[in-house]
Structure formats: C-alpha cells, structure tokens
C-alpha cells in the first residue's frame, strides 16, 4: 500500500513539474528577464528574440550578403539557429564543470582501467544485457507514439535475445536485422507536441531538458533496475557498472568534442538539442 502512495506522489510531482517548467509561459517569462540564451526559440519572429538580437533584426533589411539562391539553410545566415532556452545557464555551467571533472578524474580513469582488464566481448555482452533490460521503456514508448512496427520489433527482439541470446547477453536479433527503436518518454512527449522547456545540466546524469527529465522519471517506472535490487548500495553499484561499461566504448569522444569547441558548454547544449530534435522527428 505504501508503495502506491509513493508512485502517486511521484506522478503528481512529475505532472506539476511539467506544468511549471515545460510550458512556454515559463520560457517566455525567462525571456522577459533578458536571459541571453532564452533568446532563441521560435523562427523568424523578432518578438521571440531578446533585446540584443532584436537590434540585429532591425538592421536586417539593409545590406544583402547572400550570393546564392539557397532556401533550406539560408535562414542560418541571418539568424541564430533555433536553440533551447537556458535561463538556468549560470547554475548549469557550474554543473557542467562538475561533470567535466567527474569525467576526467573518476569516470575516465576507471573506464580506461576497466577497458584494459575486461575483454571487448564481455563488455559488449554487458551492454547488450542492460539494453535488453530496458526493452519495456522502448516498447511502451513505441506504442505511445503509434509506432506499431517498432513495438513489434522490440517485442520480437526481447523474445529472441532473451532466449537465443542467453538472457540478453548476445544480440542475435540485430544479426537478422531486427533493429532496436531508440524511443523514450521524452521523445513521446515531443511527438505529442510538448516543447523542450528549459535546458538542464544535471550533475552526474548530464545534459537534459525539462521535458526529457520528466521523460526520464517516467521511464524509470518501466525499468527493472528501479525495482531490483532493493538495497540502495547495490542499485548504485549496478548503475555504476552500466555507466563505466558504456563509457569504455566511448573514451575519447568527449575529449574530441571539447578539443574542437570554443565554448564546450554551449557546444554540448546545442548538440543535445540537435540530437533530441532529430530523434523526435524520426
């Protein structure tokens, strides 16, 4: 009985969170306060832009630079591309710095050691295992988005990989071209027309948005790992293993991003925005 109360309050909290943070009213309020990065949402409407960019708009009718008749990407030359509002930027930057250190001081050395000790095959199996566990998240969100094919594929994958794939350690389904569909609740909400809301850089968890945070919380209900194991320290240990295992495949990615960036924080923010936009559209 107590558990039901817990779930009830979590859902209530998530719903409240959505109403407060996700809806554009909050974002427009942020814009009114002149947060610089809340400035770019909405296309072509000077109203959407902060005072700094409004000045740029006023000049727009003047000089013409565009030397070729390009339509699809022409707007990029006169406008800052659409981005995600970021009224919490100062705080986010602090957490970005924190995550950066966490990566270089802890996650990277641990993952590198792990990569050296644990052979590639076992690491791949571990990854497959964790992915297989998250099948309900993908399947349910396929269903919620009306992607029946994706739902069928996920169901089939789960059955094949859990049996023929030794409990999800191997991925024979991909071998016969039944591919996973990478769906989550954040994308489902996006498909339903919910905007990103604001950008949030969570410590440890990394970049997210208001919408995707609600999505993550919702998806947690469908993840076995939130119910089992019961004890908190084992929960953390398993999460940690998953994270280290995942990172061991991607050592160097963050470094090269950071190396090619002028402002790593806004590079990550924009990449997050682009990736999520793309996934919602797919």
């Amino acid at each position: 009985m107590k558990d039901y109360f817990k779930y009830f309050f979590t859902i209530l909290f998530s719903a409240l969170f959505t109403v407060i943070v996700c809806f554009p009213a909050a974002a427009s309020e942020a814009r009114a306060h002149g947060f610089p990065n809340a400035a770019y949402s909405g296309e072509g409407d000077p109203e959407f832009y902060g005072p700094l960019l409004a000045a740029a708009f006023a000049e727009e009718s003047g000089e013409e630079e565009v030397s070729r008749p390009r339509r699809r990407h022409r707007h990029m030359e006169t406008q800052v591309p659409e981005g995600i509002p970021d009224p919490l930027e100062p705080l986010n930057r602090v957490f970005f710095e924190f995550n950066d250190r966490l990566y270089f001081w802890l996650l990277k050395p641990v993952s590198r050691g792990y990569e050296k000790v644990v052979p590639w095959e076992i690491r791949t199996c571990t990854r497959n295992f964790f992915r297989n566990l998250l099948f309900p998240v993908r399947a349910v969100n396929c269903l919620l988005q009306g992607k029946i094919d994706g739902f069928g594929n996920e169901l089939l994958r789960f059955v094949i990989n859990t049996t023929a794939g030794f409990g999800g350690l191997a991925d024979p389904a991909s071998e016969i071209n039944i591919m996973p569909s990478d769906e989550d609740l954040g994308q489902t909400l996006g498909t339903a027309g919910v905007g990103h809301g604001i950008f949030i850089m969570w410590p440890v968890l990394g970049p997210s948005s208001a919408r995707d945070t609600v999505g993550m919380a919702g998806d947690a209900f469908l993840s076995v790992l939130s119910y089992y194991p019961d004890e908190l320290k084992y929960k953390f240990a398993i999460r940690g293993l998953d994270r280290v295992n995942d990172t061991s495949f991607r050592i160097g990615d963050y470094e090269s991003l950071k190396d090619a960036a002028f402002d790593p924080y806004s590079a990550v923010r924009d990449a997050y925005f682009q990736i999520r936009e793309r996934k919602v559209k797919e």
């Binding site: 400035a39 000049e59 000089e63 699809r72 800052v80 981005g83 495949f249 960036a261 924009d270 682009q274």
Partner: protein, 203 residues
C-alpha cells in the same frame, strides 16, 4: 520488322539519354565527395609522403583537397549568423581566413586519425526546387562504433559542388559552431572570439 525498327528508335533515343545522364552524374555532388575523399585517403595512405621531411608537402596536399571540398566563405558567414552583417569587410575577410584555418586544422586532425575505415556512399539528394542544393549521405564504417552516418550539405558554385556543412550522426557541425559563437559574442565580445580562434590555430 516492326520490332527491329522500334529497337532502332529506342537505341537512338537511349544513347543521348545515357550520355547526358553520365555527364550529369560525373559532375554530381556524390561524385565530388567521392573524388575528394578518395584523393585525401590516397594522400594519407601514400607511404612516400609518410616520411617526416615530406610532412609539409603532405599537409599542403591535404589542405588543397580541403579547399576544393569546402566553401569557407559561406561557412564563416553562417557561423557568425546575425553578427556577420555587423562586421566590416576587412573583419569578414579576416574571420573567414581564421575560421577556415581553424576548420582545416580540426579536419586535418580528424583525417590524420584515419586508419582504413571504409566509407559507404548511400544516396545523393538534389533539391527539386533548387537544383543547386544537394545532400550526400554516407556511412563511415568504424570498428569500435559501427556505422557512423555522415551527411554533406552542398551547393553548386560555378559548376562545382562545394560542401557548406557536415552532419555527423545528425548533428550539424556548423550549427554547433554558430550557437557557440553566438554564445561567446553575447557573453563577451567579437574580439574575444577572434582571440580564441587565433589561440586555437596557434596551439
């Protein structure tokens, strides 16, 4: 008799059609990407150019290929977005040069890490309304991470196709720089951005 004459007409019609199609394809966007990528790979794989004393020559050859591949001016213009029109012609010139140099450097670092990955060319899409706009889709087959989808956004300029943006796994490189530059200019100033560019090139 009837059929043979039909075939003759068909043959007469098809020959010029095939020829025009062939010439179009030869100058097409995907062909351009393939040609320059192959050339770059050829330079990188050349054993003679691997000698340290020929490093400068190799760099020069790679740079030539990159210059032919990308349209730096339009990339610089896109990267500065709303701030472009506020710059003087000299500043625009300088920024284009610096940004090109920076991209060349990053591109070169990426390219030098090349270790025999295969590139699979998937499709070429030319805008119907604006036939000077095209997208070339390809997959870079890596050992570690499988196929990485890459898209080249191109436009035609004086009869040759030029790349103005590259999307890696759906993330536009140029767009990412645009928002970074905007953030930097809004937080500090254009001069600061130029200093950062110079520093990146110098390092």
């Amino acid at each position: 008799m009837f059929f043979s004459s039909i075939f003759r007409w068909l043959a007469l019609l098809t020959v010029p059609m095939v020829l025009t199609a062939a010439t179009c394809v030869a100058a097409g966007p995907m062909e351009t990407v393939k040609k320059i990528t192959d050339r770059t790979i050829f330079i990188l794989a050349d054993e003679k150019l691997k000698a340290p004393e020929r490093e400068a020559e190799k760099q020069e050859l790679l740079r030539e290929a990159a210059d032919e591949f990308f349209d730096w001016r339009s990339m610089a213009q896109t990267a500065l977005s709303v701030h472009w029109r506020k710059r003087t012609p000299e500043e625009k010139e300088e920024f284009t040069r610096l940004f090109a140099e920076f991209l060349e450097k990053t591109y070169m670092d990426k390219v030098e890490g090349y270790s025999g990955e295969k590139i699979e060319y998937l499709e070429e899409w030319i805008d119907r309304e604006y036939p000077d706009e095209a997208v070339v889709k390809a997959n870079v087959m890596t050992e570690k991470q499988g196929a990485i989808p890459v898209e080249y956004l191109m436009f035609e300029k004086d009869g040759t196709w030029k790349v103005y943006d590259v999307l890696v796994e759906g993330v536009s490189l140029l767009r990412n720089y645009t928002s970074q530059f905007n953030s930097i200019i809004l937080r500090s100033s254009y001069e600061e951005l130029v200093d950062m560019l110079k520093e990146k090139i110098g390092s």
